[in-house]
């Protein structure tokens, strides 16, 4: 694959250096701050489950109480472990059940979380973290075993399909049907509002707009159903959800425990498209990625989204910049190249002359910049219209560019993109489209050889050049400043605004995370 664009390796190296320079201050921020969701994620990893009768999860009740008493800066783990020793539950109860009893008592105002916290609490926390990490490891090993047992997706790109009925019990049969029809990855879309909830709902859910809630139980139900169909098909079908929004780290934890295989997890999506506070996001993001790294989960980044608000040609380089930043943050959090489902999309206005060549140039640039990453190639959405006949055609050209440029994960486009969340038949028509194009094109990438110095190479060089320039400006200033200025997706998001800032704290001197050293 490499080399079709004749990219300058020095420029590529320079781009990576600049991305690191731009990202480093943000990593420092993340290393020195914690959030309510990071703390809740730890308790979830410790095994604390369930919710109060109003549906507020016990992790929220417990963290809220500790924060009310102690503030957030010291973290919740030591106070919780310290208190736990005093509120032991019944014999034979699990550690998680113990935590739940603690949370219940705390919620009733019956627990005081004062310190000092001695070595015993610290040791208990580290033991609990070790157990948590081995649960993540076990899940990862189960995945690897099942892939060996059932077999893996037969080819690249993996075929990635969405279900979005708003009811887990409609989603499940549709996901199973999609798998039977050839999907390698099922993404369960969650309700429009979930990312702004500062808690993870509990239990199986049958409501939501344009998707139902991401809950641990829904994860479990769907994964079990996909295990069933994987066995039937002799091919391990992957499951995806979102580690995004105000509960990003908790989502990652639940995904790691319930064997989700990929998670949408972008470093800036929540900031730009959900107006979540930038610092909250970067802190949450780092911990969520550490969990993904350990759990062997592939992340999917969200550069496609920029092209729905910004222009896919004029701002193509912002995609490249964001990919490089996502790569830097991911590596820093311990993710391997094979886990970097960096995103990009076929969003150029189809009325633009040469759009197909521009798309191939962009897609190939991503491919050659990140040769070992399982790139996620996303279909046209912005320029889809109610003309569904045209829609199916655009999706076909998208599939073709995916084949010509060796993409890894193909998010299947739907002809009804501009109309409704996908119908059963839309998915079937879309899959037929993918199957036809991939099979018909075969190894046509072999015949796709951009002319040296020609249109495609020139375009790729130009985008890379613009990306380096932009990175230079960002590194000279700051990433937070660039985000505030509307660099990405034309959304202006200053660091002191946005949702969830009140759930962030600078770590105090005595802050303690039992996962330090355990997670990458």
């Amino acid at each position: 694959m490499a080399g079709k664009l004749d990219l300058d390796p020095l420029l590529v190296a320079r781009a990576r250096e600049l991305a690191a320079a731009a990202g480093r201050p943000v990593v420092d921020l993340a290393r020195t701050h914690t959030t309510v969701s990071v703390e809740r994620a730890m308790l979830r990893l410790f095994g604390l489950t369930g919710a109060d009768p109003d549906g507020t999860p016990w992790v929220n009740r417990l963290v809220d109480e500790i924060v009310a008493q102690n503030g957030l800066a010291g973290g919740v783990v030591l106070p919780a472990m310290h208190a736990l020793r005093r509120y032991q539950p019944l014999r034979g109860a699990s550690f998680g059940e113990g935590l739940q009893v603690l949370a219940q008592k705390a919620a009733a105002g019956a627990v005081s979380f004062g310190g000092p916290f001695r070595g015993a609490a610290r040791e208990a926390a580290v033991r609990a973290a070790r157990r948590a990490v081995s649960k993540l490891d076990a899940t990862r090993l189960t995945r690897e075993k099942l892939i060996r047992r059932y077999g893996d997706a037969p080819r690249r790109p993996w075929i990635y399909l969405i279900v979005a009925t708003g009811d887990i019990y409609e989603d499940i049969p549709q996901a199973v049907a999609a798998a039977r029809a050839g999907a390698d990855v099922i993404a369960v879309i969650r309700s429009t509002g979930q990312s702004l909830l500062d808690y993870v709902p509990e239990g199986a859910t049958r409501e939501g707009f344009a998707g139902t809630y991401a809950t641990r139980e829904n994860f479990r139900l769907m994964r079990a159903a996909l295990d069933g169909v994987s066995r039937e098909l002799g091919r391990y079908v992957r499951l995806t959800n979102y580690a995004s929004g105000l509960c990003m780290p908790e989502m990652a934890a639940l995904a790691g425990l319930e064997r989700l295989d990929m998670m949408l997890n972008d470093s800036m999506y929540g900031i730009l498209f959900r107006d979540i506070n930038p610092i909250r996001t970067f802190v949450d993001q780092r911990f969520s990625r550490q969990i993904h790294a350990r759990a062997g989960i592939i992340i999917n980044t969200g550069e496609d989204n920029y092209l729905t608000t910004a222009d896919a040609v004029a701002d193509a380089h912002t995609v490249t910049v964001s990919q490089l930043l996502n790569e830097y943050f991911a590596h820093e959090a311990g993710l391997a190249d094979g886990q970097l489902g960096l995103g990009h999309a076929f969003e150029i206005n189809p009325d633009l002359p040469d759009s197909l060549r521009l798309e191939t140039a962009h897609a190939l640039l991503a491919r050659e910049l990140f040769p070992d990453a399982p790139l996620k190639w996303m279909p046209p959405t912005k320029h889809m219209t109610g003309d569904v006949f045209r829609g199916n055609l655009l999706d076909g050209m998208f599939n073709l560019v995916g084949a010509l440029t060796g993409q890894s994960i193909l998010l299947v486009g739907m002809m009804t993109e501009a109309v409704v969340t996908p119908w059963l038949s839309d998915r079937d028509i879309a899959l037929q489209n993918v199957r036809y194009v991939l099979s018909a094109a075969g190894d046509m990438a072999e015949d796709f050889v951009p002319a040296p110095g020609g249109f495609v190479q020139q375009r790729a060089h130009r985008v890379l050049g613009e990306a380096v320039e932009l990175l230079e400006r960002i590194a000279a200033g700051s990433l937070l400043g660039a985000i505030a200025d509307g660099t990405f997706g034309i959304m202006r998001r200053p660091p002191d605004r946005g949702r969830g800032l009140d759930g962030v704290a600078r770590m105090s001197e005595d802050y303690f995370s039992p996962f330090d050293g355990l997670l990458p």
Partner: protein
């Protein structure tokens, strides 16, 4: 009673598209929604409208249709004869008829689409099944394309069955030609000497046989074995 399925059981969702002879604009959009309403779509979402020249507009409409389908009332041209194997077919003809079955096939009128009738008649067949020529006990005469009705009636004298194909449907050409053909046979010979009249083609409604004056209609996706089984059923009775 069942309803169309978009993404949830019972949601009743359908898609439709059509052109109206009105210039594009709000009035055209309103006209499209009126038509959708008359088709039973409510609510209807007009998701696409596009001017085609000065006087026509094309529309795509999505929406919930109020109709339900009564599965009990579905009229199906169910196969009312057993599907036999090649051996069973040959044996049945041999045992019960004691002579070969004579079949004449043609594409009549100005229709020159022979691929369909050839698929039924020629050894090569279709969908992995051999055509009628392959059956030892069937004698097949394939007259080819653009056969006039009088020529067909002449060639069919003494045949057990006449198989006619009609693919062109514009202005109901297939219906006209079929009616002309069946009338000619009724005219030319008494009912008891008339061969079995079978027509086929991709756009026939299989329920129209009586209306067209033929014994049977075969639609898209027909395979030779179905036809052979039907011939045995009608001409050599059921195997006991």
């Amino acid at each position: 009673m069942i309803r169309p399925y978009g993404d949830t059981t019972g949601d009743g969702m359908v898609q439709t598209s059509f052109t109206l002879p009105v210039p594009a604009g709000r009035r055209a959009d309103g006209a499209a929604l009126q038509l959708a309403a008359k088709m039973g779509m409510e609510p209807a979402m007009l998701v696409h409208s596009r001017a085609m020249g000065d006087g026509h507009t094309f529309f795509v409409v999505y929406g919930r249709v109020r109709h339900a389908v009564d599965l009990g009332a579905v009229t199906v041209a169910e196969r009312d004869f057993p599907l036999l194997t090649a051996t069973e077919i040959n044996t049945a003809v041999k045992r019960r008829l004691r002579r070969k079955l004579a079949i004449v096939g043609a594409c009549i009128g100005t229709d020159a689409h022979t691929v369909g009738i050839d698929a039924i008649l020629n050894v090569k067949g279709i969908a992995g099944e051999k055509g009628l020529e392959y059956y030892r006990e069937l004698t097949v005469t394939n007259l080819g394309a653009q056969v006039s009705v009088p020529d067909l009636v002449e060639a069919a004298a003494g045949a057990d069955a006449v198989l006619v194909s009609q693919v062109v449907t514009q202005r109901d050409a297939h219906l006209h030609n079929t009616r002309e053909m069946s009338a000619a046979f009724r005219e030319a010979m008494p009912a008891h000497r008339r061969p079995l009249l079978i027509v086929g083609g991709p756009r026939f409604d299989e329920g129209m046989a009586a209306d067209l004056g033929v014994d049977r209609i075969f639609g898209r996706g027909t395979t030779p074995r179905e036809v052979a089984s039907y011939l045995v059923h009608r001409l050599a009775g059921e195997p006991s």
